[in-house]
Assembly symmetry: D4
């Protein structure tokens, strides 16, 4: 079984590396993808490529749409979407990705600290697994690959 | 033109009433729907109906799924989904609804204070209109109904 | 909110009547549908209408397909599919309906005695609610209709 | 013609091996997949990976959903779903898979002893072939590969 | 249960009337639709409305497309498509409608004389019922409406 | 047969009135819809409702998206989309609507002067009818409603 | 551009070979597929594999469904479906394939003698090209591969 | 990330070459496709392959449909559709492609001179990026491929 797994959410910690290392150590046939994690480039790509905007709204708008070119392609190709919520920022884009993936019929894994259970209950309810650690995500990916 | 409009998001202010009154005053053929806005009932419905859980996770899980029975039906029937973000709470369910509606191909209107523009840029980028006030939502619904 | 609810499964007890009475008592705008519950007619309809078969396989085959004309229409029109498992018979058609409804994206409610939890775990996992009694099904339908 | 074939159902006999050997002997370009057939691991994966539950319901629930991550991927990728019913256990998950596959438009082959014809009539009615032995499944896969 | 039933195929006998009378006599909530059964108008509508063509190919082409405006709408709205094959003409449009309906997931009933079984085997194989007479079609529609 | 027909394209001549009158005179059960035909309001709705933009690009962008709320709803509900091309303006929105409708599987009727045949050949190729006059559109709608 | 092309219809002449040779001579990146062209095996596969039937109807039924396992897979994978009508047999399966492919949104090429234009007008109307010879099919496949 | 990008629109300037060179220089894993850019062959292919027509309408019609065999395949396989509008010709086929791609859920990039902003506002509103130069298209493709 070959799996495409999109890693959505928090871009300020090394959780994607932890999953990548776990997947590699387990020898799984998993392709991991995700958003551009360079925060500055992600915010500025619209102005940088298409020209500077006078208002922040349109600067953000152009950038968000260019990033959507990447996100939609990779979520569209994913078998499983993993969404991690951290303890900083609003992270509405992560919840948006979760809703988007759910409506496409993608299998969803959510990963967050138990302290976030209540505000994330609607997101968790749409998931096939709710993990507390990246290692649990790796363990699930390993489990569903096992032959016996 | 008859329109079904689902009003997602904030349940602690009277913004739904403002839109309902504006729609009524304008005489529009619009059916407004939304989630259960009774916060306590929404949190407790799983335990109340199906029996009490020992853990908060499963209490929330059962409640969120029962609420999803309503939400999925009404978003599925909607022509337009309006999502409002306020200044309180995490509101990940609102962003989840926005992503869910976008992936279903529903037309999206987002309504929030300009101070939230940056964290909502991915949600706004998926919308056909970004409003600052409920009145602007009413004005758009009125405009798209006009004969000339 | 108007709901179409298909009641799949057990045809030997009066659980459909219990739900119909509960829905009526609560004044809900719910249309209840279900399979033909006349066991003999359901088994014999193929031979009765199209002519007798020499083998039981083809007799069953013709009957099952004629019944599928009804089932597919009503499940296709349903917002929610309720599947009840009782303590008799194989009930593979009920589990088939549950899988069929799940793949169509229909919201699923399963109702069964807790003693069946383990063999029904895959079916329950696809449901938005798992009830023990018909009354709980009614309570859920009532809850998702409430205005406040 | 390359075919992906998912083998659903009974995990206590060696029928999957029989099909695998037949496919190999016939030199067919067929990729066979299936559920995790380790009964213990399949039951315990939720508690093992995500932590022990106090109730059997939630233990089963977590396990069933993790197994669904695998099942949905493999059924989604399958051209043909073969479902076998044996003479033990409730096997509602097999019937659920059959309904799920049918609603996705997958071609269905059912394999069971003729003694099960009556309770399986609705499942058989959705199939393109009803076999009595694993060898017949192999013969069909061979036949549809033939050049002349 | 309200049903939309499209009656495709033979336009030279009164089989549609027989079904219409049977449906009326049984008091069924069935809306019957079908193609334009005026052979001359059906052949000439392209030239009559859009101007005469010099070649028969384009005359037929324009007419067939205008008729398709009707056929696609009515098959698209149908719950069940009944296709009758008679003993005259090529009737490739009837077989085309059957394939079209099958791929849309419409329930299919085929009606023809047993002498046509062999050349119609692929069409029959896609149907939920194969009838020999219009009365059998009526009997099936009556059966799937029965309350008990 | 009840038909929803969306009239896309040229907003500077009275062709929609001609079709409306013809449909009324023929007593057809046809609901005609179309875009907002008030050119000024259509251009200014974004600035008027959501606030003035400094750049023409964003002014046009906001207006086009608000108009899309109407267009997508009405094309989505249409059985047939009629697109008329006149002799003025670029009319890229009309060709966009034609492509959009074609990809949704809507039946397409194109109406234009024969002098535009060559540049419209790709649009015409996707249509079920190519008319030269509004009266021909009415004649087609009348024809597909006839009983005999 | 790599193309999968399914060749449906007549199995008694060598038209598939003519296309295969033309495609090979032109060096096109085209994979040609088709039904089992061994008439006897195609008719008998149900009885041969699953056991003899007493009635011709069920013999044909089982065979047609086993052949459908192949046909649905290959049409589902095709970019273009070519359907040829010859001068013998009823060929309803060819017309069924054409309708099936059309409803799936597959591009359709029909090939037949001009003498069959009138009875095939509905099938031709759904096609992107109507050819008189297999060589014209090859010429079209060559044309759509050209770089300039 | 591997991307399929279809380049629609203007065939009289070298903009496709500019993008191809930019993509190659940046070492991106992008497959570029597009329509047949030989204007004469594109216009004449219907008559050349299938025989000469007496009327220009049918000559154009046959050619447009043969070209659609290519266009639909390549747009269907594309992740991103880039549509360029130049300063010559009607270019309704480009706008048609944009609408077609949008309705299929393809990500859209539009490229044109700012002088065309107003007549292209509906097309631009459906795009994830509006570029003024081919180099900006390359910059976006490069950006969405970056690792960090």
């Amino acid at each position: 079984m070959q799996l495409n797994v999109y890693l959505s959410g928090e871009i300020h910690s090394n959780w994607r590396d932890a999953i990548a290392e776990g997947v590699k150590a387990a020898g799984l046939d998993v392709t991991l993808t995700g958003p551009n994690t360079n925060h500055g480039a992600s915010d500025d790509c619209g102005d940088d490529i298409l020209g500077a905007e006078a208002s922040n709204f349109w600067k953000d708008h152009k950038a968000a749409k260019i990033n959507a070119l990447r996100t939609r392609k990779l979520i569209g190709d994913a078998d499983i979407v993993v969404v991690r919520f951290g303890d900083q920022y609003k992270q509405w884009n992560a919840a948006f990705d979760a809703g988007y993936a759910a409506a496409l019929g993608k299998s969803l894994i959510v990963q967050h600290d138990p302290s976030l259970t209540h505000p994330l209950k609607e997101v968790d309810a749409a998931a096939l697994a709710v993990c507390e650690t990246p290692q649990q995500v790796v363990d699930i990916l390993s489990y569903i690959h096992r032959d016996q």
